[in-house]
């Protein structure tokens, strides 16, 4: 695999990896460095990658594993563990308050989900990854991803319905 091939088939996935890596590491600055490191790793393995049947999948898997390694080593400081779900600034105060409340409720709901379900759910619904991409990153079959996703979505709906019917009752 030469440089041009590498750029086209592997490096061009950097933008695609960005949400995943940012969410895992908790900040976009960390994410850019990490993607750089991931690409260096992949570049070193480029001869092997050239014959890989699923290059995109391999890149996703490498990226996720690299993030897990980084988190294990904690070579960098996490600014704030809640960074991935930091509320965006808004001009309207009322909407902002409502949003904060909603954000808090959903955070709680997500916390209750099993780790794997939560990861798949966030990767799909928020980050918008394809089933195949999630499957290769997590080393699972697409069918398993669908099942995990289905469970998580149903669970979230049930939880949200509970909270909202309760809230409506109090008004």
């Amino acid at each position: 695999m030469n440089k041009i091939d590498f750029k086209l088939k592997v490096f061009s996935l950097s933008e695609r990896l960005f949400p995943l890596v940012t969410r895992m590491l908790g900040s976009s600055a960390n994410a850019e460095d990490a993607i750089q490191e991931i690409m260096m790793k992949l570049w070193a393995k480029r001869k092997k990658i050239a014959n890989h049947p699923n290059i995109t999948g391999f890149v996703f898997l490498t990226a996720r594993n690299h993030c897990i390694d980084l988190l294990r080593k904690k070579t960098f400081l996490l600014d704030d563990s809640s960074v991935p779900f930091k509320a965006l600034a808004s001009t309207n105060e009322h909407i902002e308050l409502e949003w904060k409340e909603l954000n808090g409720i959903i955070q709680e709901v997500l916390k209750k989900l099993p780790e794997q379900q939560k990861e798949v759910f966030i990767m799909r619904d928020i980050d918008g990854y394809e089933y195949t991409e999630i499957a290769s990153a997590m080393q699972l079959k697409v069918e398993n991803i669908r099942v995990l996703l289905s469970r998580a979505r149903k669970q979230v709906r049930i939880e949200l319905e509970k909270t909202y019917s309760y809230e409506r009752g109090t008004y």
Partner: protein
Amino acid sequence: MKEEHIKTLIEKYEAGTSTLEEEQFLFENAEISEATMQVWGTFVERNKIAVPNNLNTTLWDSFQKKKNRTRSVKIGMMSAAASVLLLISLFIYNPEQKKLSYNEKEILLNEALNMIADTAQIKAKQRIIYEGDLITIYSSNE
């Protein structure tokens, strides 16, 4: 019609069989009747991570710089390793031959002399060619 469509989409969504486009449509178009979907849609929209503009290009530029740097570091390491290796090999393979001490040389020399001592005497013997009253002619290899 639209409500019907959204309902089937939600069913697909909860079964984990919807496409990304369908999900996008759901998040954006959920009606009040699907309050939870609307809530979730808002959450999704506000938590999306924006990818910086031209990320691929900027990353590629710094990637190439880094790659070149590591290459020059590699070359540096290799040359350092090579010079160390050269020094070590010179140290192990000493080009100076083993030298004998004077004592050893003397012993060896004497031994050699002893070996040829007898023959030397024979050779040193004079072979008389002519012997007269006044003169004796002999050959010698001395």
